[in-house]
């Protein structure tokens, strides 16, 4: 569950709500020649009709900067804003945010003697992040501006002189008393307080520096994160985070607003989270909290949590068509209505590709994603979210490395085998949420949200070739291990949060209390069979079950500010989960046994997880922050693995970290972190079942360095390096094949890269004009380095170095761009595995675990044309 504090910026207004203008003081700028100035008292100031929020700059989220920007705005006769300039700067980023917002405001025009006239007014914006953690300063409302009707707009040659007015504007819910300033509340974007040094906020500028083809790949920008797609375009991504192999989401809590994306007890992987439902162009920012330090973090927040914030800053209609390598085609349509909040938009996309290799990676997918934000009386806002995504893809599968080296199969190809070439996946997700929020000036905040999601998944994957024998009929053997998995999930849930007003206990001590609750219930139908290609004849049944899972959790979270130097945040969270499993193949009767009962094993189980989380932040100097954090989180179990009445064994994680962050005038920041996480039991991929199975407890210790720099306007850069030593803390579970697995203390966890280095650089600037319109160019570059990854049996996967680049130019409504991924065409393993397989490529089958790889994409170029209408 995510805390969604209410407003982070509010504009205080405008002076003297009086409808009458004041006389121009002597000495003000002279009127243009020939312009007679009307008596100010005859001018009716503009009134706000539509407004959009001023967004708190993402680059300063969590920095606790509180500042005010005062703009001078020219309102045209038609009520539009033709010019805005900064009178009082609050810093470059804040100025830009205020300017961007006010330019989309629409007013009723100023009236002089009943006729519209141009007018100039002042609009102050006050930016205050973490309003619950920082006592609001008494912002002195700007003094009424005496009208200077004889001052022309400075940059635009006026058709007629605008009227200088005392900013008598107000939003629909502004409070105005005669003779007093009007106070305007701007509903801003949520800015949860920083919970650790590794609480990273990635804004659109950082995310857009290097090319990213989908919402999952955006996460590569975050320190310590690496995203792969070993099972094609439709199956959910595989994510590595700070030493965790989170597979399809088992260790990371993914959310979009109030909607959890992780699916409980998903057959293909616990916590499966399909990020394809998110269209990357509408991602405004991403919060990546690495670790478990916030009480609102719920199920699957083991390595951390990722929250996608959706919004479209540039309003209007956008049509984007792309074409590139492997006949990849993508069409995006995006409509962000003018005058609406950034959260209001609707987008749709269709994508088709033949995929790389020998024709076994083709895919078709598409979806829509839309939100509507509405202002309601009483400082209440509502946000309706709807997302639908569907796709189908062929899958090339994995290859034995010895077969590649022997030339028996090409690196980018699939085995010339009907079972290998029948691999595919289709997935859909439909989700909807409705969230209401209300915030008050005293810092109080409340929100209520309901959501529902319906997901389907069906895959046919063959990792192991020909190793299986039917349980139902043992005479069926060697027909190909084409594992069909289906998972249908209907989920419902709700979230409630309440934050108290700020209590000033002492002059130097204030506190707030957050209370939150979240509940979800899921009904999951799942089945797993073995199919014989190419007719998909079923030759074994492995799973046929219905799982009903309900989880209810609540937390309390205190936010204490002790002087301007110290902040304490923390609380406790408790969750209870109840599972009802109808395992229709349970108590299976083997073919050679006498039937003594009817197969089936219905069972129920329940469990409770409780864990504290806390953070201390010390800021001894304005440019220095020291943070320490501790937290305990959990992952719910795969329900089918529970026995009757078993106390549901949540995987418990304990996270510790200490970090330091240095900032230099908001242009450069350096973060260094040392952390440790301990997990009570981990999960690892089992190729035979095509899903996750338990391994023992694990520990990760690591160091993170993160540098962000934006030394000049339009330039953004970030470099991160994450080093982790991930170990298995006890022998792996015994298996029939290996009753006493070898184990040495400090044995490395396989698959996770010990070192992940990521760099992103982006630059955007005007390079000239064409036919009177400015020409803007952009360039981006991203690099990823993964050190050699340990594999089981003391093997290592090769290091990976990847570079992506992006170029584009835009003039007015037209933008042309080209994205290149894997710029140096490196041949690399997207994912490496080690398990037993038999693909009939040798005279005798091998039963030794062998290295397998899923090929990463070669150089891929995508050209695009975008129309902004």
């Amino acid at each position: 569950m995510k805390l969604r504090p209410a407003s982070l910026a509010f504009a205080l207004a405008l002076s003297a709500g009086s409808a009458s203008a004041q006389p121009a003081p002597p000495g003000d700028a002279p009127a243009p020649p020939g312009e007679a100035q009307p008596p100010p008292s005859a001018v009716t100031p503009p009134q706000v009709l539509d407004h959009v929020d001023a967004a708190y700059p993402q680059s300063h989220l969590g920095d606790a900067i509180e500042t005010t920007v005062v703009l001078k705005v020219t309102v045209e006769k038609d009520g539009s804003v033709s010019d805005a300039s900064v009178v009082t700067s609050g810093g470059d980023d804040f100025d830009e945010s205020a300017l961007a917002a006010v330019k989309r405001w629409r007013f009723s025009p100023a009236l002089k003697e009943g006729r519209p006239v141009r007018a100039r007014i002042q609009v102050p914006f006050h930016f205050a992040p973490e309003t619950h953690a920082i006592p609001p300063k008494e912002v002195e409302p700007p003094k009424p501006i005496k009208p200077t009707p004889n001052v022309p707009a400075p940059e635009i040659k006026p058709k007629e002189a605008p009227q200088e007015l005392p900013a008598g504007t107000g939003l629909p819910h502004a409070v105005s008393e005669p003779g007093k300033p009007i106070e305007i509340h701007v509903q801003g974007r949520p800015s949860p307080p920083r919970r650790a040094a590794s609480d990273f906020r990635l804004d659109a500028q950082a995310l857009g520096a290097a090319p990213h083809q989908n919402a999952a790949d955006l996460l590569n920008t975050a320190p310590g994160v690496h995203v792969t797609h070993p099972e094609g375009d439709v199956v959910a991504q595989r994510v590595f985070l700070r030493g965790f192999d989170a597979d399809h989401g088992q260790d990371i809590e993914f959310t979009v607003g109030p909607i959890p994306l992780n699916q409980v007890s998903h057959l293909h992987g616990q916590g499966y989270a399909d990020l394809n439902v998110i269209i990357p162009e509408v991602v405004r920012s991403i919060r990546v909290l690495e670790g478990v330090y916030e009480p609102s973090q719920g199920d699957f927040a083991v390595a951390g949590s990722v929250d996608y914030d959706l919004g479209v800053q540039e309003r209007g209609v956008r049509i984007k068509g792309s074409y590139g390598s492997f006949a990849t085609k993508r069409l995006l349509a995006l409509w962000a209505p003018e005058g609406q909040a950034e959260e209001t938009f609707v987008a749709g996309q269709i994508r088709a590709s033949n995929g790389f290799g020998d024709g076994t990676r083709g895919s078709i997918s598409g979806g829509i994603l839309g939100q509507y934000k509405l202002e309601l009386p009483g400082d209440v806002t509502g946000l309706l979210h709807i997302g639908v995504n569907a796709g189908r893809a062929s899958i090339a599968g994995v290859l034995r490395e010895d077969d590649i080296q022997a030339g028996r199969v090409g690196f980018y190809d699939a085995y010339p085998d009907p079972s290998a070439r029948s691999q595919s996946a289709a997935a859909t997700r439909t989700q909807m949420s409705l969230e209401f929020t209300r915030s008050s000036d005293d810092g109080a905040f409340a929100s209520a949200a309901i959501w529902t999601a319906y997901s389907t998944y069906r895959s046919r994957l063959n990792f192991t070739g020909y190793t299986q024998r039917s349980r139902v009929n043992p005479d069926f053997a060697g027909r190909g291990d084409l594992v069909e998995q289906s998972n249908e999930d209907l989920g419902l849930g709700a979230k409630l949060t309440y934050r108290s007003r700020r209590a000033d206990v002492l002059p130097w001590l204030s506190a707030q209390l957050n209370l939150g609750a979240a509940g979800r219930t899921s009904s999951v139908d799942q089945a797993q069979n073995l199919l014989q290609a190419p007719q998909n004849e079923t030759w074994d049944q492995r799973v046929d079950a219905t799982v009903r899972a309900t989880t209810a959790g609540f937390y309390a979270d205190a936010l204490v500010t002790a002087s301007k130097y110290v902040r304490l945040r923390g609380g406790v969270r408790a969750d209870v989960s109840v599972y009802d499993v109808d395992d229709r193949l349970g108590n299976f009767i083997p073919a050679f046994q006498v039937k003594t009962h009817i197969p089936g094993f219905r069972r129920t189980a329940a469990g409770v997880a409780i864990g504290p989380r806390g953070t201390i932040e010390v800021s001894p100097l304005p440019w220095l922050k020291l943070l320490g954090a501790y937290g305990e989180g959990y992952r719910s179990p795969q329900a089918r693995q529970l026995e009757e009445g078993e106390s549901a064994p949540f995987a418990k994680v304990r996270s510790y970290e200490a970090g330091v962050k240095l900032t230099d005038q908001d242009r450069i920041s350096v973060t260094a972190i040392a952390y440790e996480t301990r997990l009570s039991y981990d999960l690892a991929f089992d190729a035979v079942e095509g899903s996750l199975t338990r391994i023992g407890p694990t520990t990760r210790r690591g160091l993170v360095g993160y540098l962000q720099a934006s030394p000049i306007a339009g330039f953004t850069s970030s470099v991160s390096a994450t080093f982790v030593h991930a170990t298995l803390d006890s022998p792996p579970p015994a298996t029939p094949s290996n009753p006493s697995p070898a184990f040495v203390a400090g044995q490395q966890l396989p698959y996770v890269p010990p070192v992940v280095v990521r760099g992103d650089v982006g630059y955007r600037r005007a390079v000239g004009t064409i036919l009177g319109k400015p020409l803007e160019a952009r360039a981006g570059y991203g690099v990823t380095f993964l050190s050699p990854r340990p594999l089981p049996y003391a093997q290592q996967a090769a290091a990976v170095f990847l570079a992506d680049a992006s170029l584009g130019v835009r003039r007015d409504f037209l933008e042309i761009g080209v994205d290149a991924e894997n710029l140096f065409n490196a041949q690399f393993a997207d994912t490496a595995y080690s398990f037993v397989s038999t693909w009939q490529t040798s005279s005798a089958p091998s039963f030794l675990p062998a290295r397998h790889v899923a090929a990463g994409a070669p150089l891929s170029v995508l050209a695009s044309v975008t129309l902004y209408l």
Binding site: Y466, Q748, P792, A844, P845
Partner: protein, 240 residues
């Protein structure tokens, strides 16, 4: 250029590996040899003495398992294997190279193997490998004698897996701890003992040679000798 980039990251990779302690059980290769015992003359049932003139045996593949049972059902993951199938003269006591065994360090407790005829999961029926002499697991000829009787015999023996996906000898004790410090594997065959329970009294009068055909009781006695009563023994030792 890419090489330069990789070189620039080399220190980081080294740093990463400095903390590596491995994921356990490194792989290991070692040579495997057939070590037939000189059969001489073997005493068989009912007073017969058997002397072999010729013994060609196909052997392999062999799988070693960490569990006590090497059956395909219980040992889906091996800890070592010798995938080659080799035919050798089982009367020649000189060690014969069978190929290179691959595997991992660790404890071995069982073995399963074929004698040149396999029935892998992907086979519709038992199939002789190319090394199988004449398409059989073994070819023997020799003389059985007892006072007043002499029988020249010939046997084409097929040691066939009983089930699809199983080995002909599905599970046999074979104990060793592989350390990866220069092992070699000797597989000892006591060929003469395979004839201990052949009843040459069953040889038809006048049959010369007496052909022990598949399906006969004596054929079964040889198969049992090869797979159960006098199976090969696996001895790992330090390589010279």
């Amino acid at each position: 250029m890419l090489r330069d980039l990789h070189r620039s990251f080399a220190p980081i990779a080294l740093l990463a590996c400095a903390a590596c302690s491995g994921t356990g059980q490194p792989d290991v290769d070692y040579a495997a040899f057939a070590a037939p015992a000189t059969p001489g003359t073997v005493s068989a049932d009912h007073g017969w003495s058997v002397t072999l003139d010729q013994a060609t045996v196909a052997f392999g593949p062999v799988y070693f398992c960490a569990s006590e049972s090497g059956s395909a059902t219980l040992c889906q993951t091996a800890i070592g294997e010798l995938l080659t199938t080799t035919a050798f003269d089982a009367l020649d006591p000189a060690p014969r190279a069978l190929g290179t065994a691959h595997g991992f360090i660790g404890k071995i407790q069982s073995a399963s193997y074929d004698y040149g005829i396999h029935w892998f999961l992907t086979d519709d029926a038992p199939t002789p490998g190319p090394a199988a002499p004449g398409g059989h697991s073994a070819h023997f000829s020799g003389t059985a004698t007892k006072p007043g009787k002499t029988v020249h015999f010939r046997a084409e023996v097929d040691v066939v897996p009983q089930f699809q996906g199983q080995r002909a000898a599905p599970s046999q004790v074979a104990t060793a701890t592989i350390t990866g410090e220069g092992e070699k594997l000797d597989i000892h065959f006591a060929v003469g003992q395979w004839f201990e329970h052949v009843d040459f009294d069953e040889a038809p009068a006048g049959a010369d040679p007496y052909v022990i055909s598949a399906g006969s009781r004596n054929h079964g006695a040889i198969v049992i000798g090869m797979t159960a009563e006098s199976p090969p023994t696996f001895v790992w030792s330090a390589a010279p």
